[in-house]
Amino acid sequence: MAKLLSDKTREAFMGPLNANNPVVVQILGICSALAVTVQLKNALVMGIAVTIIVALANVVISALRNTIPGRIRIIVQLVVVAALVTLVSAVLKAFLYDVSVALSVYIGLIITNCILMGRLEAYAMSNGPWDSFMDGLGNGLGYTWVLAAIAFVRELFGSGSLFGFQVIPQWCYDHGYENNGMMMMPAMALILAGCIIWAHRALNDKEGKK
């Protein structure tokens, strides 16, 4: 432990935040990105829930990786993820009831989020627990920032508020400004995700320019 983070660990954490982002580069986890981004608060809670679950599931699977029978490894991964999701759902229902109502089925659907199975199969099965933990954190946070960015635009223009607080003054509504109903529809989240992917590629894809 000469350095707190070795190059490999650092790459496992930093990669998914930008260059190898699960949503905008690998195009995983899109369905939940459409569903929970109407409000910023819900998007952040969803992002945090996914981050916790993917990080913990990565650690568990990584710790067990040498014992897991090859033929049922996907089932083992699924059981670990499902158990963690059930735990998070129960904790939310006990301590953050209104959030759990708002997220309703989407917490349960974290099980089907492609990011989780993707990271477990591609990373945790062949790397140590610490690297896997950082990889899970990185991917979760990479997912979270994209959700937060989409939710920011959708809540601002769809409801005129951020985190539930009104930010567009009443004066604007009195003079004919209206909230954009299109922003409330899932289709708009897909369009916004497309815009983020476009901007991200334009900024990062230097090789494509040659």
């Binding site: 059981v79 670990v80 904790v91 009831y97």
Partner: protein, 234 residues
């Protein structure tokens, strides 16, 4: 010693042990958090009932206090119905629970009536998964629920209607959410019908009071006809 992780025995034992561990873990957590979750669900229901009495957006402590002070649940076991009676600074209100189906999932609500059991004091509707910004707006007080205030729930025995704006309904549909709005209408019709059938709207008060009332009337009409009262009670 190196385990053969590909053998059948190993795979079956591994799967069994894993399932037992996970099941135990989930059972313990579920049992541990159950009380807290149930309390949350109950508090949420109380908040929704208070919202139908126009006491909206309360924090947990205020909601608990107001509910305890103002609301009592009344169950009529004979007719299988229950409702809530509220006392708002001396004014008596009745709250009827309703539930039905929207476009994507269940919708439900609470209708608060003034003590004439006819005029709507206010309402609260909620939903599980209606489209945000469209059907989901039935949850919105300013957009939808406010329209119900002061309207008659029943006119000549017919429950109020929800129609497109300008079509002459008692309440306007939410534009773009006709199915959810009509779901609210159907919900009102089916749920209120049960109370109509049970004679809830005709009873001036609870049954005991009605009998007392009839006894009083008869006693006044026929001062010495005690037997008649007995017969009415039967």
């Amino acid at each position: 010693m190196k385990l053969n992780t590909n053998s059948n025995v190993y795979t079956i034992v591994y799967a069994s042990v894993m399932v037992v561990i996970v099941a135990l873990l989930l059972a313990v957590v579920s049992a541990g958090l159950k009380a807290r979750q149930d309390a949350n669900v109950l508090l949420d229901t109380h908040k929704q009932i208070l919202a139908s009495l126009n006491e909206r957006d309360l924090d947990d402590a205020t909601a608990t206090r107001l509910y305890d002070e103002q609301i009592t649940e009344v169950t009529c076991e004979k007719c299988g119905l229950s409702w809530f009676e509220a006392n708002l600074e001396g004014e008596k209100k009745y709250v009827l629970p309703v539930r039905g189906a929207g476009l994507w999932g269940p919708i439900w609500g609470y209708i608060a009536l003034n003590d004439d059991k006819q005029t709507i004091f206010s309402v609260f509707f909620n939903h599980e998964g209606e489209t945000p910004g469209l059907g989901g707006e039935i949850k919105n007080y300013a957009v939808f629920q406010q329209q119900f205030e002061g309207k008659k729930l029943l006119t000549d025995g017919l429950v109020m209607t929800i129609e497109k704006a300008g079509n002459g309904g008692d309440v306007d549909c939410i534009s773009g959410a006709t199915i959810t709005s009509k779901g609210v209408e159907t919900m009102l019709h089916t749920c209120v019908a049960a109370y109509v059938e049970a004679g809830w709207f005709n009873a001036a008060e609870e049954e005991g009071v009605v009998e007392e009332f009839i006894a009083d009337v008869l006693a006044n009409l026929l001062p010495d006809a005690e037997e008649n009262v007995e017969q009415v009670n039967e």
